[in-house]
Symmetry: C2
Subunit: 421 residues, 2 copies
């Protein structure tokens, strides 16, 4: 039996032998004799295969016992596959159809067999290629509102919510990566870091910037000490697959209870970095400026749809222990309920702005960089893009209380870009 063999990483050949008799694979892909297997993983932690056959196709994802980006010198528990699977089930139940369907899970081998998303592309690659996805912003805004609201004490049965909190408290290894890699490493010299040498002066200034480091530490404390809802925990543009009609969220292994603004800030930061990268990726012409406007519009729509859907859920599904209906709506004071909502959204927004500023720093100064910047071969051009992004990130982290609207972030970016965006 598969589950009784010792853990062994798959490769394209052994996959056919090992999974060929699996009912889920036979049903979705067809007989193993006709499988074509491609390894497509470009993430940091896992093996990912696409398996195609006569009946269809599936994705096989297997966790490695070390961080692939660093190598075998950084061992990592295979349990993250369990947490990813648990998170997928919950997030999918909160916004059905927005995550890949799971066909099979083998905890011992850390293998998930899941829906092959097609013709979806990784959003990050789509943004680098200048593609537009008309339905994405609405789908992501609703995904964020539904998963963040429905996983919180505003909506969930408190016993189930606390049981979930206990489950995901076990994902301490990946959560610890977030805690250190996001909030601490970028702000001091650390062996895991790297950056474009043309940024040396800017990086020295950042690491001497007390206000920025105070903001990073405050946001770290907020991330560690807040158990508001079940987060995806790594919701950047590489964790989203899109096509014209559909948007999917993948790679939930960093799932943890944390502040709602974290997922939102991660996503917005990666969209804003894509804007800053454009001048290094394509000609500075009207087309490129229009595309940057489209990305900024997308970020705005995600936030606005999030607020709209969160508001709807606040009014219709506020049935958890936090409640508040007894205090307001049930006493004929719906205005009180709306004011509590306003305060809630205000808190989520300022968290999101702050976390977005941290995400920008860690993607330019930390361990895990992004191809938007890394693919710009001219070091000075790249440094210009990165430096403008860092200037925005510093303001977003330190002055997060001074941004009341997402339009004001757009203005900040336009001023830094010297452009009318």
């Amino acid at each position: 039996m598969l589950t009784h063999s010792p853990y062994e990483p798959l490769d394209a050949d052994s996959l056919v032998d090992r999974l060929g008799a699996l009912p889920a694979m036979m049903e979705r892909v067809g007989p193993a004799a006709h499988w074509r297997v491609r390894e497509v993983g470009d993430g940091n932690l896992n093996l990912v295969f696409i398996v195609e056959g006569r009946a269809g196709s599936a994705v096989v994802k297997q966790a490695l016992p070390y961080a692939r980006v660093v190598g075998e010198s950084w061992p990592m528990s295979l349990d993250r596959s369990f947490f990813e699977h648990e998170a997928l089930l919950r997030l999918d139940s909160r916004d059905p159809g927005r995550l890949p369907a799971i066909y099979h899970f083998d905890r011992h081998q850390a293998i998930q067999v899941m829906e092959h998303l097609w013709p979806h592309v990784i959003l990050r690659k789509g943004l680098m290629a200048g593609e537009r996805f008309p339905l994405m912003a609405g789908q992501l805004g609703r995904y964020l509102a539904r998963t963040l609201f429905r996983g919180s004490d505003w909506a969930m049965d408190t016993t189930r919510r606390k049981a979930d909190l206990a489950v995901f408290a076990g994902n301490v290894e990946l959560c610890g990566i977030t805690e250190d890699l996001f909030f601490t490493d970028p702000f001091h010299e650390c062996a895991r870091n790297s950056h474009n040498p043309a940024l040396d002066h800017a990086v020295a200034a950042i690491r001497a910037d007390r206000d920025l480091k105070l903001a990073a530490l405050e946001l770290k404390a907020r991330f560690c000490g807040t158990a508001q809802t079940l987060l995806h925990g790594d919701l950047h543009t590489g964790s989203i697959m899109v096509c014209q009609e559909d948007t999917r969220v993948i790679d939930a292994e960093f799932a943890t209870y944390g502040p709602m603004g974290f997922d939102i800030g991660s996503l917005l930061a990666n969209l804003w970095m894509a804007v800053f990268a454009q001048p290094g990726l394509r000609p500075d012409d009207g087309e490129t400026r229009a595309y940057r406007r489209w990305i900024l519009d997308t970020a705005e729509t995600i936030w606005n749809v999030f607020v709209e859907e969160f508001t709807r859920l606040w009014r219709c599904e506020r049935n958890g222990i936090l409640g508040g209906r007894e205090l307001f709506e049930d006493q004929a004071d719906p205005v009180g309920g709306e004011l509590a909502l306003n305060a809630m959204i205000d808190g989520i927004w300022h968290d999101a702005v702050g976390f977005s500023g941290i995400e920008i720093h860690r993607r330019i100064l930390g361990l895990a960089h992004i191809p938007e910047f890394e693919s710009i071969t001219d070091a000075a051009l790249r440094a210009g893009c990165e430096h403008r992004a860092l200037r925005a990130g510093r303001v977003l982290a330190v002055e997060r209380g001074r941004f009341a609207t997402i339009g004001q972030v757009r203005t900040l970016i336009a001023r830094l870009e010297g452009d009318d965006l």
Copy 2:
């Protein structure tokens, strides 16, 4: 064997039969033939016996499967005895000697055998009797700093901290009591509530006070969604036993991860309520005024010693994943570390002020009242004391951001009392 019999509540007779052969009892109390057993429980949830014998004495505490204050109509899980025991072990390790020693624990019978504290009295009774305890403020200030800091991500190993978070997430039943009984019930009509009928008008105004209810809901969200440290969770003056030389913290069954300010605010609120109750408890003379000043001094000293000890721990024991040393001290910027401390203390303080305002409301309008007010037989005199306390509580909850120092709270109380305190 004890642990294999079905759960059965103890009484003074059966206790001798059932625990007479227990080595921990024989060692601490002596042979069962000479035991004298008294039931002394006046709490809401448990049976408590003092057992005295030839070798000494011990306290036997047994959880009941229902809330004693309400009766058998409110069933409650016996697991709270497990959580209390787990909390006692942790809190005691963080500030050794400040909790009763545990001699024996039987999870199945929900029985703890613990140190008989003598000549200690319940602090609440001491305050009603006008007694002074010279060492208490310092001991409680240090207890708060040590338990709150050492149970947080500032100090603890993150894997152990997350494992503890998971354990105490299981204490959902008692945590849910706190969530509803503190933050929601007092602010709407609810069958579990009661209040002095002479307060009817004031209570109606409170339940129509939108700003107060918004503050209660914000503080409830902060309590539910914050996992900063392991709290005692019910640190009022009935959970503290004192004598001239020693102070002990008992009854930790409400232990949960939450915001540091919660334990502090609960304790301060109960001290401040003791001040408001004095005019109903004894003659309004110089002696009584001096005693009220002593209680206010005690509250101030608790907070000041908390800050002092928290500062010391911040500098010496900041070794958890939150750290911050890499950003400041290790880069020759100790000032940065001190500024982060200032922000941290500021946040704890404003939480504590807000939670204290909620505690005052729930003790006058909710389920669990306090004998300071209840023992005032003149309804109008009692209402006057309660009403002044409620006025303070409203300001503390709603305007918590406007109190920078504990001296300002003292001034508020003095103004409401029309007195020079």
